[in-house]
């Protein structure tokens, strides 16, 4: 059993199937890329996994716990990074991280302080820690959200479009941190539009279109089974053009 299990996961919005019977099993310690065109159901899936949206049907099991039955237990072992970094603008960066550590029940003030200072330094925000968040740029807010997601040292990171709004230096920093965290045994479930990022950092990936998984595998596997030469971009374009051509079946059986 994988650390993340999605079983027949479905989400309907007023008759529209945003996510349609998704099944995924993701093993521990990898970076899993979740790709798809706009409106394919990536963010809806991710928000259901983060406990923000309720599924219409199906199960989400993370770290052996059912999100529906034990939401607090699941959330305690997950960190969530949304695509848009809405934060409490009237808190300082440090106050925000202290607040997050309170929400996740971290009780040792000294250990928390050391952890927070370390994260702020890692994400290049130390000199901004006592400034109100309303004065931060978009990229800084995004990096602060990432600090927040790592405060409680989660086993699973659920990330929606991590590179949006980051400058090249910030993007490099985030990619390196994700690789480092995966090497330490964390599982990262990441949606992205950036195929370059996916190709560079993801061990495995799935492509979703119109709410259904249409392909899954490593980059090499996807290239091989799509029968397209070259980059992930070509594979992506080919697969999303030819929706429902049986790739899912062939790849998952491989």
């Amino acid at each position: 059993m994988g650390i993340i299990e999605l079983q027949n996961l479905t989400k309907n919005y007023k008759g529209l199937k945003a996510v349609d019977q998704i099944n995924l099993s993701i093993r521990e310690g990898i970076i899993f890329g979740f790709l798809g065109p706009n409106g394919a159901g990536k963010t809806t899936t991710i928000r259901m996994m983060a406990g923000i949206l309720l599924p219409t049907s199906g199960k989400i099991i993370i770290n052996g716990m059912d999100l529906d039955k034990d939401p607090s237990g699941v959330k305690r072992c997950c960190g969530f990074i949304p695509d848009r970094p809405f934060l409490y603008e009237k808190l300082t960066g440090m106050e925000f991280l202290r607040f997050i550590s309170g929400l996740y029940g971290l009780n040792n003030p000294e250990a928390v302080k050391i952890r927070l200072m370390g994260l702020l330094e890692k994400f290049d925000l130390l000199s901004w820690k006592d400034e109100l968040i309303e004065g931060y740029s978009h990229g800084m807010k995004q990096r602060l959200v990432m600090c927040g997601a790592l405060v409680h040292d989660p086993k699973v990171l659920i990330v929606d479009e991590p590179m949006v709004g980051l400058d090249p230096k910030g993007a490099r920093l985030v990619k390196d941190i994700f690789k480092e965290e995966a090497a330490k045994g964390k599982t990262i479930f990441m949606s992205t539009h950036s195929l370059e990022t996916a190709q560079e950092v993801c061990h495995e990936m799935a492509i979703i279109q119109r709410g259904r998984i249409i392909a899954r595998g490593t980059v090499d596997e996807l290239i091989k089974y799509s029968g397209v030469d070259g980059t992930l971009e070509n594979v992506f374009l080919k697969l999303t053009e030819e929706e429902g051509t049986g790739y899912e079946k062939s790849l998952s059986s491989s």
């Binding site: 949206l53 309720l54 607090s72 305690r76 934060l87 550590s101 971290l106 009780n107 109100l132």
Partner: protein, 566 residues
Amino acid sequence: MKNLFLLLSPRVWSLRNAFFKTSSGERKKAVIIGSLGLTFWTVIFILSSRILTYFQSIDVIGDLLAHHLLSMILLTFFSLLVFSNILIALSNLFLSADLELCHSSPSDIKLVFLSRWAYTIFDSSWMVVVFGLPVMMAYAYVFKPGLSFYFALFNTGIATAVIASGAGILFTMIMVNIFPAHRTRDILLLLAILLVAAIYIMIRILKPERLADPDAFFSVMQYMSALKSTDSPYIPTHWMTEILWEKLKGPDSGRYFFENVLLWSTAAAIIVVNLWTAGWIYLKGFSRSQEAKKRRAGKHILDLFIRLVRKPFKNDLASLIDKDIRIFFRDNTQWSQLFLLGALIIVYLFNFSVLPLEKSAIRLEFLQNILAFLNMGLAGFVLSAVSVRFAFPSVSAEGGAFWIIKSSPVSMGRLLFGKFILYIFPMTLLGETLIIVTNRLLHVDMTMMILSSVTMLFAFPAVIAMAIGFGAVYPRFKYENISQVATGFGGLMYMICSAGFMAAIILIESVPVRLFFLARLHGRELTVLQLGLIVLAFSSVFLLICLTIYKSMKIGLRALERYEKF
């Protein structure tokens, strides 16, 4: 002209869609709000008509009173219009998200300005039209003028609205060129609240109701001169008053043609001045308004206070409360409302201190106790009004950052409990202070003092739980400033339910209170049946309170757990 219509079209289309492309739930809401509005409208019309009919029955001064009232009403509406234009112009001309699109388009800057002016007039004037129209219709009903009155009302109303909005917008443009727009908004909001609080206190202390009580004046001449003192002849509402009064009282001789010319020429002049000023400074101001805000002053006192508040709670609850307190004191739109609260308390207590109890025909002891009993309802209503400003928007105050709580291990129940804990102490303290101080001012006896303070000690948590619960059922995570949250449909429903809850408590408790005072009046002991009734009544109140707290939190919790629109 075509470009101007193009710039206005997003608003027109949005309005059209709001009317014709709504869900059935929204249509129901619109029907409820519409019915309440119509009821309110009818009440204003009936009250105004009765006052004017009463004035007409008074010889010599009846017309003077009606004229004076018209002048006061128009002046009040004009001042409100100027002020609301100042605030709304800030959003429409400088802070709206769609302005970037307008300013980056090849549209002429003056056309952009004109389209935003039109938005501002619409946004600021509809409320005055809604509240002003029934009063004007009451004048028409009582004085029975000809058709020319309605034309004059339309004609002078538009000219006055243009003047008010022009003055407001000009002031805003100048302010934004001195301070950045975000700072200007903070300063203006603070000034507005201080001004409203000061005017409120001043009006109460001046007691304008004395005008309706000629006994309060030493002589008839003094009273007449107080009524005849009119407003300045240089302000637009004076011209509007005179024009409308001529149409109301007749004969329609066209005497006030000059005032009409004055109104329209002033409106035209203000359009020209504003366009000229906009060409000069509007874009500069808009550019300044895009600058980032800078940080706040020291925070040591706040830190100390929060450290004390956190102590009794577990880490997750303490963190929620800590965050809410910090945001409350750093967000000018939230803490500045404390000034209004202060004014409300001063006026509330002042009113009780000047009650002419000795003039009443009812025995003083009973009157004091009846007032103290009814005061429970009034205090409950005041607390509801305060809760709708502070506790009701507390869930919405999470704003776009609500995902943080939703994706954390903290349950929605814990979040609501945190909000409840945060508000229960200051609100109960406020409510109990009001009850105890007013009871002291009324010199009520100890029985009533205990009854009212204990009842309210239990009832206030229910009022607050309702505010939190309704706030969770009707959250609004996208807002420009938090004070808007209270004025929506949810706030209205909360106020209605809260008033109903207080009325139910007063009604149930009136049974034991009546029995108790009648027994005391006749010097009799209470019978066993009566004692049983008293126990039943108090138990019912207690049950009602517990049920209200439980149900409010429960429906709020269920709504938040299912909420997905953010």
